[in-house]
């Protein structure tokens, strides 16, 4: 078997896990503090807890940027080919996305348990806001399962897109790096404006996404797939050098 996936996956997953554990611990501390304050001092005003999904997505986006290059270098140092290193990185991203998504549902469950009896505490995270109409209701198990799926897709997408940015800037020389860096704010602001002027209707697209979680999941997976393909194309012929000190 020409591919030796296990050691690379073990190493990459473990190192991702460590960083993720720190992130998660911080989340737990925040939630616990929030709950403690609300239960003891909240009185009758309602409190909602949300933002876990967004925070996790941002964390994983950064993780995608941070880990892809250093993991690739280390794998090559120990005789693991780029293809294997990249494949195990994608699998690690997937694993961590799933773990953080499950962990997120645990946070929701934690809040539900701690708030049992107190009618003023709610969880309003990404899934609830978009697909449950922001109803101030503690989500059912079925809803949590869907929430898990949308989060996994979103998290995985964040990782692969983070990796894309890292690899893109790696392969670009100085001139093009500056060009791309400058053009990003132009693209973000100018492009939608231009497209709207040309008659492209974004609201229909967003409505479609919001119509069902599966649409959102599909969008995320399409973006992630594109990112994975571009990531591989960027790194398969790259000249690997040490990190700049």
């Amino acid at each position: 078997m020409k591919m030796n996936l296990k050691p690379a996956y073990r190493y990459q997953f473990m190192s991702l896990l460590k960083g993720t554990a720190v992130f998660y611990l911080i989340m737990i501390v925040i939630v616990t503090a929030f709950l403690a304050v609300t239960i003891n001092f909240g009185g009758s005003s309602s409190m909602t807890f949300g933002g876990y999904a967004f925070a996790a997505a941002v964390y994983l986006f950064v993780a995608g940027i941070v880990y892809i290059r250093s993991d690739l270098r280390l794998c090559l140092q120990f005789g693991v080919s780029r293809r294997t290193a990249f494949l195990s990185e994608i699998l690690s991203f997937l694993s961590i996305s799933a773990i953080l998504a499950v962990a997120g549902e645990l946070v929701t469950a934690l809040v539900r348990v701690a708030a049992s009896g107190n009618p003023n505490i709610f969880v309003l995270d990404f899934y609830q806001i978009v697909y449950l109409g922001a109803e101030k209701v503690l989500p059912s198990f079925g809803h949590q399962a869907m929430s898990f799926l949308t989060n996994v897709a979103m998290f995985f997408c964040a990782c692969t897109v983070g990796a894309f940015f890292s690899l893109m800037f790696w392969r670009l020389n100085k001139f093009w790096t500056i060009v791309v860096a400058i053009s990003i704010p132009f693209a973000i602001n100018g492009l939608p404006y231009l497209l709207i002027k040309l008659g492209v209707d974004f609201s229909r697209f967003f409505a479609w996404i919001a119509s069902s979680p599966f649409c959102f999941i599909l969008t995320c997976l399409v973006i992630a797939a594109a990112a994975v393909v571009i990531d591989w194309l960027l790194l398969r012929r790259a000249n690997i050098k040490a990190a700049k000190n």
Binding site: K2, R73, F78, G79, N239, A242, A243
Partner: protein, 284 residues
């Protein structure tokens, strides 16, 4: 069982670092890849380990092509001039990572070596001095026990004592667990007695590839009164010559034949032969 390099060319844009290089490393020998800075040594080693993609040519390890091949790549370990480990990783954690990736990694031996060199394993890699960063990479290289071990300028930054220790440890390891070793260096004199086979590279081309004993036996030095030396040198392949006052010394390619009176002959050390070779190439 060998690394076969066939017609490897590597160009970075317009500049070609390697030009049609064909070589073979095997037989559990110690090879010297000798050349000046910028000759293409590091580029070649990078291609052998898939860090760099060749512009043309092929590399096989034990018959298998290197590209996208974990089995082939896993047999080769490169102690590079540059650090490929995460910078905020501690030496200890790096040993742990080595254990994950390499079944043959001898952790106990690595820790013993770290103690011997005075390397604090708790330190982060980015906080190591140049010398100790080299020592760290050398320790990993000596402990992974791969069939092929490539060393790129291994003693850069090492003080005299550590250099001495490293050479002895390398020979010890080679005696106990033979493998094919390639030492790439511009420190010819230091490598001279360690290597069994010499590959001399210049401007991306291989100009010599033979057992090192053949190399030093292929040239000799003649010295004496300038006039006598000049007449002796007629028709001979002269590599270099020096004249000091009336005394002339020349380095000649070939075997010394009849010894005319008044002339002194002696062998040529590898470094001197190398320098003479470079000077001859310079003149071309």
């Amino acid at each position: 069982m060998s690394i076969e390099i066939k017609n490897i060319t590597k160009c970075f844009g317009d500049v070609c670092a390697l030009d049609d290089v064909t070589l073979s490393f095997g037989g559990e020998k110690i090879y010297g890849l000798l050349g000046n800075n910028g000759a293409g040594k590091s580029t070649l080693l990078g291609i052998l380990t898939d860090l760099l993609h060749p512009t043309g040519g092929t590399v096989t390890v034990d018959g298998e092509a290197v590209s996208n091949n974990d089995t082939a790549l896993g047999k080769v370990f490169l102690v590079a001039e540059q650090n490929l480990f995460p910078e905020d990783m501690s030496v200890k954690k790096a040993f742990g990572a080595a254990q994950i990736f390499s079944a043959a990694f001898d952790r106990a031996y690595a820790e013993k070596l770290a103690a011997k060199f005075g390397l604090n394993t708790k330190k982060k890699i980015k906080s190591l001095s140049t010398g100790y960063a080299s020592i760290f990479r050398l320790i990993i290289g000596l402990s992974v026990n791969t069939p092929y071990l490539l060393l790129d300028e291994p003693v850069l930054g090492l003080d005299a004592q550590h250099r001495d220790m490293f050479y002895r440890l390398l020979l010890e390891k080679y005696a106990e667990k033979p493998c094919t070793i390639v030492i790439s260096t511009h420190l010819i004199a230091e490598a001279a007695e360690l290597i069994e086979h010499a590959v001399i590279i210049r401007d991306g081309r291989i100009i010599r590839d033979c057992p090192s004993s053949e190399l030093t036996a292929s040239a000799y030095s003649v010295s004496g009164p300038a006039g006598l030396v000049d007449s002796y040198l007629e028709g001979k392949h002269i590599l270099t010559s020096n004249t000091l006052g009336g005394l002339k010394t020349a380095c000649v390619q070939g075997q010394s034949d009849a010894l005319p009176a008044g002339l002194e002959f002696s062998g040529v050390k590898l470094q001197d032969y190398f320098i003479s070779l470079m000077e001859e190439e310079d003149r071309k």
